[in-house]
Amino acid sequence: MKIYPEYEIMRNYDKCINCRACENQCANEAHEFLADANKLVCDDTKCVNCHRCSALCPTRAIKIVKSGNTYKENTNWSNKTLNEIYKQAESGGVLLSGMGNPENFPVYFDKILLNASQVTNPSIDPLREPMESKIHLGARPKKAERGADGKIKNNLTPQLSLSMPVMFSAMSYGSISYNAHESLARASAELGILYNTGEGGLHEDFYKYGENTIVQVASGRFGVHKTYLNSGAAIEIKMGQGAKPGIGGHLPGTKIVGDISATRMIPEGTDAISPAPHHDIYSIEDLRQLIYSLKEVTDYTKPVIVKIAAVHNVAAIASGIARSGADIIAIDGFRGGTGAAPTRIRDNVGIPIELALACVDQRLRDEGIRNNVSVVVGGSIRSSSDVVKAVALGADCCYIGSGALAALGCHLCRTCHHGKCNWGIATQIPELTKRLNPELGHKRLVNLMNAWKHEITEMMGGMGINSIESLKGNRLMLRGVGLNEKELGILGIKHAGE
């Protein structure tokens, strides 16, 4: 059964000058120049709504619009639901998607408002007064110890120092392109923050950015070896991912080409399918063994991060991890992005990061183990105000993934799994990867982060806070709007007006 396309390409022929940029830039071949008619035509069924053509069209002759062609209105049986049934009835297969959950679940960040000082407690002007946005990640020492000479002993475990509370989250080389990785690595080095290799190993060209790199170890163990583990500033064990809790990473064989197969240490063209669990981890004790194996191999010089998806029992799980020897816990909310996930899992599994963060922070505090670990949250941190709210809810730092890709050109078309990303990000086709020039890409990331840093210090200044550490877990700076008692209770915040 033919499905009418969800989006249509509208070309304004009064404006089109037949430059054919749209035609040569659409890897989905949705545009075609008809020489005899001397005009461009298009095939809406091929369009994935990535906006490459409309962004590059020099006369703004193209727009992509939502199709008005709809089935009979039905709140229960939406167009989308019906089309998915038609698709599956045809293919017999699992529906796949890219990027994060787009469905209409509450975004708690948008229902939380920040405080500002008035009259009795002065606000601070970040342009005139010093403002500290630097953070450190790692376990905090339980007490100050003195050596035999009476001086304070340095009993700090390995720490990460960052210029601001944001890092680029795990996106593997393979799921995204070499140029995307280079952009992330160079931007991190310039900004004094960290990026994360994801589960595909680290291309040897990027070892030089090691100080700004978190190397990941996932259940597939792709690209993991001693030099790799020692090349980064920290090691992350990926137990789960917000976009697809309960299942492992998938990278189709079409993306395992050239350097990617070498970096992952698997043959070209083989699908890289990470097992759902780590086959050596069935308990916190097992996790502890892996943590200490990794610490052993790196001589106890690097903090170990354990990344989990935000799921129903996240607080209890985090409590276990905080006792397992991990230095940092990363929690990935249900809106976190991915290169490919089964649509039903992406859209229906996991919980919002705001609730997960609040309950984990509270649980760790209640149990007196909050200082055992730092907490990093990801899964749709979209702006500097999301960062400020996350820190006030108790996070030490935020991971951004989709936001960083958007800075590189991603238009959230959510077809990363097709491997034909027109923006040169989620693809390995050389003609497409060259569309992302890291010289421009890294600058855009640096710009974005610098802009956020300014905004973060301005919001902090408004609250009369001059250091990000004083904002951490400062939930009195937050008020909810339109939230019920239960939600407010879990978030640990008051309602606006209280």
């Binding site: 940029a21 830039q25 020099p58 006369t59 020039n437 010289e439």
Partner: protein, 163 residues
């Protein structure tokens, strides 16, 4: 110095403007937007659609393409330009480092078109020749450079590095 330019002596003021359009072919997508922005800059119109609608453009920067490699070619503004040396009327000269055309003086003999080793000079619709003059009248950056989505052409002063 290029071998074909051996012995050519042109005393010119390479002048203040040492900036040139340089090509990074690694990043060229072959989208040809530079050609269109160039052609548009030449029209002096405000609206690109109006300026270039139903017109076959004749830009001063051109994409060369073969076997999946593409790059933009325009005037190199050579230190000792053969076109200027070849010009029989003084229609071409170097002004502030930019090889410039005086359309009034050009008699369309096209000696320069034949002389330029880069094929950067071409006849224009009016008969006189045309070539890239770095958009000196348009403002800070050449239109092609501004229009390139991937920094495959850049406008830089590389004299330090080169000489």
């Amino acid at each position: 110095m290029f071998p074909w330019a051996q012995g050519v002596k042109i005393t010119s003021n390479w002048g203040e403007n040492m900036k040139r359009v340089y090509v990074n072919e690694k990043w060229c997508l072959g989208c040809r937007l530079c050609e269109y922005y160039c052609a548009f800059a030449d029209t002096g119109e405000k609206d690109m659609a109006r300026a270039l609608k139903d017109i076959k453009i004749n830009p001063r920067i051109k994409i060369e393409e073969k076997d999946g490699i593409s790059f933009a070619v325009n005037c190199r503004h050579c230190r000792e330009p053969l076109c200027v040396k070849g010009c029989i009327t003084g229609g071409l000269s170097v002004i502030d480092g930019v090889v410039s055309i005086d359309k009034e003086k050009c008699v369309s003999c096209y000696t320069c078109v034949l002389c330029c080793p880069f094929g950067a000079v071409s006849p224009s619709e009016s008969g006189a020749v045309q070539k890239c003059e770095l958009c000196v009248n348009e403002g800070a950056h050449p239109a092609c450079v501004k229009g390139c989505p991937n920094a495959a052409i850049v406008y830089e002063d590389r004299t330090e590095a080169k000489m």
